[in-house]
């Protein structure tokens, strides 16, 4: 009779609460298992982590740096804080910069009321933006028969890029350019409607804002349903 495989258990504290985790788990995963809420934006259950938005930053005792909880893995004896004034300040600033970077006009956005950027702004106590708005002139791509890409609302979280590559296996989305000029593009910067898109719509469902939307939903509520991802993943693992 063989012994059960050894499980490497780490013990750490999050916000003063003692929690245990398996080695290799991220701080975000462990926090979730223990009902500790850490705000996220580029993270999505069922997709790989990129640590792009920095909203999930936490403080780890002994480190002067802030660490993104979605990619930082647990260690024995780690002391993690997720709700300090410093973190709240940083999260607010990140959201403000996102709002100022492109043209997020909530009142006329297709995602109004169903937008993760908008609801994070509210939950993080954002009542105004302290930075000047950039107001860039950005294009929309409505060449696809079912969906539209509105660059004005894109926050470059790359959920669409990841879901198309990792889950749909089509990889029609990617990011062109660098820094503030970065743009999500289809194929090699061809119109979406002329790309190799499989028309599955997964990118639309995972998009946290109104950057990707279903044309048939214009003028009506457009909630997104990204919860299909973990379920799909589970089904595939069982096969």
């Amino acid at each position: 009779m063989s012994a059960a495989p050894a499980v490497d258990i780490k013990t750490l504290t999050i916000n003063g609460k003692e929690v245990s985790a398996r080695a290799g788990q991220t701080i975000l995963e462990v926090a979730k298992e223990n009902s500790i809420d850490i705000p996220t934006l580029c993270h999505l259950d069922g997709l790989s982590e990129v640590g792009a938005c920095r909203l999930c930053v936490v403080e780890i005792a002994g480190s002067p740096k802030l660490s993104p909880a979605c990619v930082a893995t647990v260690e024995e004896g780690m002391v993690v804080s997720t709700e300090t004034d410093r973190l709240k300040r940083h999260r607010k600033t990140i959201l403000e910069l996102l709002f100022a970077e492109r043209n997020h006009i909530c009142s006329v956005c297709v995602a109004n009321g169903h937008c993760e950027l908008q609801s994070l702004g509210q939950s993080q106590g954002l009542t105004h933006i302290r930075f000047p708005y950039r107001n860039p002139k950005l294009p929309m791509d409505s060449s696809h028969e079912r969906f539209t890409l509105d660059q004005n609302r894109c926050i470059l979280c790359t959920r669409c890029v990841r879901v198309c590559d990792e889950v749909e296996g089509a990889h029609i989305w990617d990011v062109m350019g660098r820094g503030i000029d970065s743009m999500v593009i289809s194929d090699l910067f061809q119109p979406w409607g002329e790309s190799a898109c499989t028309r599955c719509g997964k990118c639309v469902q995972v998009c946290p804002t109104g950057a990707l939307f279903d044309k048939s939903k214009v003028g009506s509520p457009h909630p997104k349903y990204p919860e299909f991802l973990p379920a799909l993943q589970l089904m595939r693992e069982r096969q």
């Binding site: 909530c106 006329v108 702004g121 009542t127 105004h128 933006i129 708005y133």
Partner: protein, 177 residues
């Protein structure tokens, strides 16, 4: 106890915030016990009083006229409240920002006009290059986001104000609400 003086101001917005303010309906009577409305699109006075305790400002800063007004209001107001998304974010008026003012006026006064297309030279103030929220020009004491903020939001906020206990507006409203 003497009442607080209250002003409401309409800059570049659609007046929807004022409509929502009026939607407080009979609660306006309750508020009248605490506030005297001394300047507003809803009252007759045309000049801004020397001193106003509280001013609710709707709309963004889009023209030379808006800019002159907000500076004057700030100088003569104790507590300035940015009312609604246009005042706070630029909102719909700011959608012209990626374009030049020339493109905007051409569109409004020439391209879509069949009878005597011409640029108005009288009474219409000059557009500023970009539409900006009021906090880019003057200090704002409180922000009340929403498009428009609901009547309930107005009532909770103003009630908190008179009681000296400012409410957490994020629990009441958000951008685009």
């Amino acid at each position: 106890m003497s009442k607080h003086t209250l002003a409401t101001v309409w800059l570049d917005g659609c007046s929807g915030c004022h409509m929502s303010f009026l939607d407080m309906d009979e609660r306006l009577v309750d508020l009248a016990a605490y506030f005297d409305l001394v300047y507003s699109p809803l009252v007759d006075l045309k000049t801004y009083p020397e001193h106003v305790d509280f001013a609710l400002v709707e709309g963004a800063i889009s023209s030379t006229d808006d800019l002159a007004k907000i500076k004057k209001i700030r100088a003569h107001t104790g507590t300035l409240i940015a009312m609604g998304d246009c005042a706070i974010t630029g909102n719909v008026p700011s959608m012209r920002n990626p374009f030049t003012t020339r493109e905007i006026t051409d569109r409004a006064y020439f391209e879509n006009v069949s009878a005597q297309p011409q640029l108005p030279t009288l009474y219409v103030p000059t557009l500023l290059k970009t539409v900006k929220p009021i906090q880019e020009y003057v200090h704002v004491d409180y922000y009340l986001p929403g498009c428009p903020p609901s009547a309930d939001t107005f009532f909770a906020f103003l009630s908190g104000l008179v009681q000296g206990k400012p409410v957490d507006v994020s629990s009441l409203t958000r951008f685009g609400a």
